[in-house]
């Protein structure tokens, strides 16, 4: 009799692996397309704002909870007014976070102010939490001389070195490999902080997403990747973006611990991010958080989403699955918030935003010099020459030059 001797598994690169005896195309386990066996989603509050029985979560204290609620409501109000301002032609462009307020605010609340944020573009809630004023937002949108970005980027492309929020850069997913670099820097300095990189569902198709995940895993970089899976990339639904079970499974492919959370449940997001951040900083390894949500608003003011999705779908999410309302119900159930406070907040905030817009509109634009500064550390001679040439042209034809741009 011929006896088969089992050979050692150590010869296989990557460690020992159990062997299998055959390939069977009919075996369900071969298929990894999204099936009924989807990765479970962490959730704390039900649709009515009540904690679901049996869920484990850390309570937030009253002060944090109220601050979170106020920030989410502020973001909602600010977005709607700025959106209207764009429609009236006062602002050239705007992008709302409608439907996703829970993600940015709860994340900001769960992180440390030293954690460096690399945003995509729907994370204004983090800036709001960290102290960016309504006036700051308005100044950036109007590109006036008080804008921290000196009027060089389009609206919603906020950035604040001071608040550890990298300036938004339009191309999708370019911030993801940069997060590994930020994490590398933090690691070298031994800081108790991590890099937090945001991405949308669409951005996970970019090569940068995959390479960044791989890098972070291999380099053991303390990066927290947060994917806002809101179902739509402009007009592309997720069914046309990928065929995997969302984004959470992609982390596993790179050896990154991943979790899926209900993005419209601010309390769940807060808990998940707190736990993830602690893991990232303590173990100096990346973690991926997929926050499931829905983009209630249009992609931006350049988009009309009713052209590719039903109004009914949008309204359903806006009304019955609104993260702000859901969290409010919870906060009210704890008697930490009341209708009077709600009315007062909305009234005050509305006035504040409108005033900020009025002020921002009147502040003068950055002067001509700022067209040429900051291209390099110091203005080189060829740019000075170009500025001189431009000024000569303006002197010759002042009527053709916009009057609201100061020359000095």
């Amino acid at each position: 009799m011929y006896i088969h001797k089992r050979r050692s598994n150590k010869e296989i690169i990557g460690g020992s692996i159990t062997k299998r005896r055959k390939i069977d195309g009919r075996n369900q386990n071969e298929h990894c397309e999204a099936t009924e066996n989807r990765v479970a989603c962490y959730r704390v509050l039900d649709d009515h704002g009540y904690p679901i029985a049996g869920t484990t979560f850390d309570q937030v204290d009253e002060e944090t909870a109220v601050r979170m609620y106020k920030s989410m409501a502020s973001l909602e109000i600010m977005d709607s007014i700025f959106y209207e301002a764009q429609r009236q032609g006062r602002v050239s462009f705007y992008l709302t976070s409608t439907g996703e307020e829970g993600i940015s605010v709860a994340t900001a609340a769960a992180l440390s102010p030293h954690d460096i944020i690399l945003p995509q573009y729907r994370e204004a809630g983090i800036l709001l939490w960290r102290g960016f004023t309504i006036q700051d937002f308005a100044n950036q949108c109007f590109g006036n001389e008080d804008d921290h970005g000196k009027g060089r980027q389009m609206p919603v492309h906020y950035g604040s070195n001071h608040l550890n929020f990298f300036t938004v850069s339009s191309p999708i997913a370019t911030q993801l490999p940069q997060a590994a670099g930020v994490a590398y820097s933090l690691k070298m300095d031994g800081k108790d902080a991590c890099a937090v990189a945001f991405t949308g569902d669409g951005a996970t198709s970019e090569g940068d997403f995959h390479a960044a995940m791989n890098f972070a895993a291999v380099m053991e970089a303390p990066v927290l990747f947060i994917c806002r899976n809101n179902g739509w990339a402009i007009s592309t639904p997720i069914s046309q973006q990928f065929r995997s079970d969302g984004v959470v499974v992609k982390g596993q492919a790179y050896g990154i611990r991943s979790i899926r959370v209900d993005g419209n449940d601010a309390l769940a997001v807060y808990n998940a991010i707190r736990a993830a951040r602690e893991m990232v900083v303590r173990e100096q390894k990346p973690v991926l958080v997929e926050a499931l949500t829905y983009r209630v608003g249009h992609h931006s003011t350049s988009d009309d989403s009713t052209k590719y999705r039903s109004l009914k779908e949008i309204e359903e999410w806006r009304r019955s699955r609104n993260p702000v309302t859901r969290f409010r119900k919870w906060v009210e159930s704890k008697c930490w918030w009341s209708d009077e406070e709600e009315a007062q907040l909305r009234g005050t905030l509305r006035k504040q935003v409108l005033k900020a817009i009025q002020i921002a509109e009147k502040i003068k634009k950055p002067c001509l010099e700022d067209l040429f500064s900051d291209v390099y550390e110091q203005v080189p001679s060829n740019l000075r020459q170009q500025e001189k040439s431009l000024r000569q042209t303006i002197n010759k034809h002042p009527q053709d030059f916009p009057s609201d741009v100061p020359l000095h």
Binding site: N161, P171, A179, G181, V182, A183, Y184, G207, Q378
Partner: protein
Amino acid sequence: MAATILHGVGATTALSSINYNNSRRSLPERKRTSLVIQCDGSLSSGLNISNNRGAKLSTNAVAQTKQENVTASTTSKPGHELLLFEALREGLEEEMERDPHVCVMGEDVGHYGGSYKVTKGLADKYGDLRVLDTPIAENSFTGMGIGAAMTGLRPIVEGMNMGFLLLAFNQISNNCGMLHYTSGGQFKIPIVIRGPGGVGRQLGAEHSQRLESYFQSIPGIQMVACSTPYNAKGLMKAAIRSDNPVILFEHVLLYNLKERIPDEEYVLSLEEAEMVRPGKHVTVLTYSRMRYHVMQAAKTLVNKGYDPEVIDIRSLKPFDLHTIGNSVKKTHHVLIVEECMRTGGIGASLTASINEHFHDYLDAPIVCLSSQDVPTPYAGALEEWTVVQPAQIVAAVEQLCQ
């Protein structure tokens, strides 16, 4: 590959040391100190002299101020001999020693020491974190370098071959060049991106790219090309100390050039051209490997009675129009010799720039010798004919000076 590089460079080694001695004393009078000078003449004292170990910076060896000139030449040590890749490493190592924020990242830069050995030994000395091996994803490790730079580090990103950096174009153009500007000056990106490019010895079309053509338009970056061990070390140090993003172009065939360089510390200016051979009949502008073809042609030209002025432009963005201009005003004839393709290369931009600024001083149209607009063939003989040869340079000068 190493063998072919040595073979290819053998003929040029001797030339480089000759060139060097001439260039040390021959630039027109211009104020120099031991600090870095911008091309508009203003002194830049914005260097990160955070960890000055008291080493006296020697005078800029291209030209010297009167007093320092005398002291330097009488008391300077004879220097030490090394190859170009070693000079790059020496510059890199000195900067890493001086500033703990300087780090290197790229493929195989760690224990392998880099494909051209520029980072050899550094991982052993500074550890795996400061000399970081990355997975194969150029866009990603360039992006990583940018993120690190924005957070306070001074990374040097090595592309194994410049051609691969085409994959990093998005990060270089949209982020590296732009973020200082679009953030309103809040974030700076003191990154150095370097690697070998140019036509080698049968490396194939994809590994023979001249990326300076593609990158030259990106606002916000600086580009320099080294050509000798002396300027390689000086430019490496200057690039690392600069707060702007700098792309340092090395050439695959020049890594084994040997030269004697000073023992004292020195840093060159990123915006200056180098006077290789002063002359009066024609201004020959070149950079990187073509400098050697030009100098070889110069020997023949001198024998034929011509007196070419050879300038290694070194700074590809911005051009050193001060040095170039002075030369054009003297000779009134310009020949550009480059390795870029005819269309859209450095030569094309330089031609436009000189025409714009010095048109009145030209007695003849500018002649530009470039490679043809073809991918570099693998076959050796064909490859040789895509690169400008000394014979063509001689013929061009003869025709120009008629």
